[in-house]
Each structure stands twice: as structure tokens, then as C-alpha cells.
């Protein structure tokens, strides 16, 4: 049984390497492995991506991309998710494109500006990343909403919200970590949907929409914060009143 044991060990080793490389946090010393696509997938997808404005996120684009990269029509079977792989490629490359351009994007935002302003700048840049495929993006959203693709799509959305907050320098470690990311995810998704119907020059309406939503979220979180503070104060005051009356709490 030696070979099968060796095989099992190999599998274990491979799994160990994968888990060792995947971290739920940003590590400066051990950067995350680059991309979720291997070299062959990368070659086909990057070629296919050029066909998206004309043919959309379809098997047709994938197949044309495979031809361009020197593969066969049948090679698109490498992607078990079909056209969704192309959508994911778009999401991943656009997300990863934010980090190298961080300095340029935030150049006109003064150092003193708070995190929300930087979040707004970065989110807007990410939305502009959809510019070339915007007329095809409704099809993509429809594919992403298919039940089998929903988990992967939501995961990408969460990664994007986290990336934006990380790049914006958000260092919160309280429960607002979750509300900030959840809120930005909702705002981003609705802005993206708004953008697909936006015909204004330079997508000005989308930017106004994004800013309104962020302002609402800001005032809402401010209101929630105030209410929470008031509730906390009232509760502790109530406890103290009861204690002063001799109740053993």
C-alpha cells in the first residue's frame, strides 16, 4: 500500500500548503498568493476579457479567448463555472488593481481627511473599473444572482469592501468593523446597479448617488451611535437609581 500512502501524504502536504497560505487578515510579511487562477486560466481569461465588450460575459467570449491564446474551443472546459469564471476574473483583477494605484487615487485627498472620504474615493475608482463592460454588466449581475454562484459573488463583494476599508486606512477593531463593511457592500452593489442605467457624461449621476448613499449611511451610523450611547447611559443610570433604593444588583 506504499504508493497510496505516499499519495495520501502528498495530498495532505498540498492541503497544508493551501491552508498555510490562506489567511483571514492582511499580512505584510506573508502576502497572499497572487490570484486564484493558474497560468493557463490566466492566459485564456485575459484573452477572453478583451472580447467582453463585444460578446458579453458568455461562452462565446471564452471560446474566442481560448482561440486567441492558442488553445482549442474545447479548452474552455478548464473552467467548470463557464462564463462565471470570466465575471470572477473581472472582479478579482479590478479589486487587485486598486492597491497599486492607491497613492494616485488618494493623491488629491488631504492627509487630514477622515476615512469616509477616502472610502468614497476608492469606491468611486472601483466603480469606474466597470466603465468598459458597463453595458454588459446587467447580464453579469444576472449570472451572479444564480443560486450556485451567489456564495462566490458575495464572497467577492465582501473581499472588495474589506479591501477598500483596508486601503482607506480604517483600523477599527470594534463591532463597527462589521457594520462598516456590510454597509459599504450594500451601497456598492446598489451603486453598481444604478450605474448600469446611467447615461450621464462621466457617470456623474452615479457618483452623486454614491455620495448620497454614503452620507445617509454616515448619518444613520451617527444616529445609531447616539441612540446606543443614550440607551447605555440611561440603563446604567437606572441601575444606579435602583441601587440607591437598596436593590442588590
Amino acid at each position: 500500500m506504499a504508493p497510496s500512502r505516499a499519495l495520501a501524504r502528498l495530498t495532505l502536504l498540498r492541503r497544508a500548503q493551501q491552508t498555510a497560505l490562506r489567511r483571514p487578515y492582511h499580512s505584510y510579511d506573508h502576502p497572499a498568493p497572487t490570484g486564484i487562477f493558474n497560468a493557463h486560466e490566466q492566459a485564456i481569461l485575459s484573452a477572453a476579457y478583451k472580447h467582453v465588450p463585444e460578446h458579453g460575459f458568455t461562452a462565446q467570449s471564452l471560446s474566442l479567448g481560448a482561440r486567441d491564446a492558442g488553445y482549442l474551443d474545447v479548452s474552455t472546459n478548464l473552467f467548470s463555472e463557464g462564463p462565471f469564471s470570466l465575471i470572477r476574473y473581472h472582479l478579482v483583477t479590478q479589486r487587485e488593481a486598486l492597491a497599486p494605484r492607491r497613492e494616485a487615487i488618494l493623491a488629491d485627498v488631504t492627509a487630514s481627511t477622515a476615512v469616509p472620504a477616502r472610502v468614497e474615493r476608492l469606491t468611486w475608482e472601483r466603480l469606474l473599473g466597470n466603465r468598459d463592460v458597463n453595458h454588459r454588466w446587467q447580464e453579469a449581475l444576472a449570472i451572479m444572482a444564480q443560486p450556485s454562484h451567489v456564495p462566490a459573488s458575495l464572497h467577492e463583494l465582501a473581499l472588495l469592501a474589506d479591501e477598500i476599508h483596508f486601503l482607506a486606512g480604517d483600523t477599527s477593531v470594534d463591532p463597527s468593523w462589521y457594520t462598516k463593511r456590510g454597509g459599504l457592500s450594500m451601497i456598492y452593489a446598489s451603486s453598481e446597479l444604478f450605474m448600469t442605467n446611467d447615461r450621464s457624461p462621466g457617470f456623474g449621476n452615479t457618483r452623486a448617488f454614491l455620495q448620497r448613499r454614503l452620507a445617509e449611511a454616515g448619518s444613520l451610523s451617527g444616529a445609531v451611535g447616539s441612540v446606543t450611547q443614550w440607551l447605555g447611559f440611561t440603563a446604567s443610570a437606572g441601575v444606579n437609581v435602583l441601587r440607591s433604593k437598596g436593590v442588590r444588583i
Partner: protein, 318 residues
Amino acid sequence: MVARPALRAATRIARRQPVASTYSSHNFCTSTPTLRPSTASSSSTRDSSNGSTRTTHFGFQDGISESEKTERVAGVFHSVAESYDRMNDLMSFGWHRIWKDHFVSSLNPGYSSSIPPKPQRILDVAGGTGDIAFRMLNQSHVVNANPNIHITISDINPSMLAVGKQRSLSLPAAQQATLSFLEADATQLPATIAPDSLDLYTVAFGIRNFANIPAALAEAHRVLKPGGVFACLEFSKVGNPVFDAVYKRWSFSAIPLIGQLVAGDRDSYQYLVESIERFPSQDEFRGLIEDAGFVVGGKGYEDLTLGVAAIHKGMKPL
């Protein structure tokens, strides 16, 4: 050379004149000839200088020489036809048809972005009865409107090919013209299949019965064009422990019983469930595919029905 008496795999012998029923399935099942005890030193992949000592397993029995496994599997499928067809439906609640339909539609043979469509050459291994090949013909000719493909149905067993041939007579003439049959051993394909000549290599519910799986994978790698795809539909391991318990209970108690009642052959169905149990897990099998030189995309496989079956695909790199 005595070296490879062993390499006669995926054998399906229809000893009786098989009954042609339309759209039957690949038969999951085998009948076991008398099982002789054998020495226990076993290794399915070890290469020894003397081929006759290479051993593999048959169901839960270890230390069977590859040639003996080939013989036993060859003794299999002997009462092919009607009872097995019914058995497959009974055992899987008819679900195997859905797996096969999904397998073929996900492969999408005949799809081409070029106008006119590029020709494709496909080899369906262990596909004697033709049900995967006929589905692929339909997908290419009807769905993708591309008659410019050629499918070779290969099987080690001439009787199974005869079943496929007879069934193919009910296909439209245009589809029959693009079909050919080949009697061949998947671990040693004949010279008529040139290296680097195929677009697609499929094997559905067959690779489990091969005496030497790595050799068959290496052979697939040899005959595929660069960029060509190896695709395999096979039983696999269930991930969910609760469903796994139910599934194991079903397969080890109910399936041999149904086999006894319906087909009158308990041993064959015992071999069936044991061979499923012995087949490597999804991750291990992906490792075998990668070791043969293929690249896999994503996690490399797709689970069907929570992992009862799985589709593995590998691409030969450029």
C-alpha cells in the same frame, strides 16, 4: 513481452446476445466470477520488472494481479441488458441519467466560436453501449448545429460494442456517419489513434474498473492535442457525514439486496459497491490527473449530488 498481460482494462463482456434497449446506461455493475484467494502483497501502481507480479485490487480484495482483475471484470456485464438497465434506475432512482446529461452539456462538445465551426475529434472510452457518445452527438449536431465532429466509441469488449452498434442504427443517418467504433484497451491505445490527435477524451463510470488507472491517464495525455481535455464522470466520496451515513447504508445493504431480487446476482452488486468504496477520493484522483501531466482549473472537480458522483476535468497544457 510478458510485461503487460495485465493491461487489459475496463472489460465488459456481454456473453449473451445483448438486448438493445434505447438509451441504456453504462452499466455500473459487474458479475463476479469465483473469487480465488491470493497473496496479500499489493500495490496498484508499483512497477516491477516482471509484469505478471503487478497487483491491484478487486472490490475489497487485495493482491489480485492486474490480469486477474481484467479477467474478472471481463466476466462482468455478462447479463448486460434489460435487468442491468432497470437496476441502474433502481439503484440511483434514475438519477444517473441526469448526471450523464449534465456531464455532456457541461462539456458542450461541438461548440465552436469560429465560422464555420472547427472540426472536433472525440474519443469515448469504455463507452460500449454509446449512451455518452449518443448524447454528445445530439449536443453537437442538434444543440450546437455543428455536424463537423467525429466520435470514436472505444471499448475493450466487442460484445458491448455490438450493443452500441445496434443502438446507433436508430440514430439519424447524419449522426451515424460521424460515429465509429474501436475495440481497444484504454491503457494501451492502438496506433490508429495518433498521438496529439484528439480534442476530447471522455470516460464515464469506466475508469474505476481499469486495472491500471495511471497508465490509462498517461495514455489519455499522449493522444490528446495540446489544449485537449480529459473528462471523467465517476462515483466519488460524499462530503456530508450525515448524508454519507445514509448513502453507505443504502449502498451496502440495499443495493446487493436489490441485485439479488431483481438481477438474481448478489456478488456483482457487492463488487459494485466495494469498487466504489475503493475508488480514490476527489482530491486524490485530482492528484492522479495532475501527476499524468494535466492542468486542472479551480478545485479541479465538480461534485454531483453531494459527491455521490464527481466530474473531473483536466487540460493538456500547450
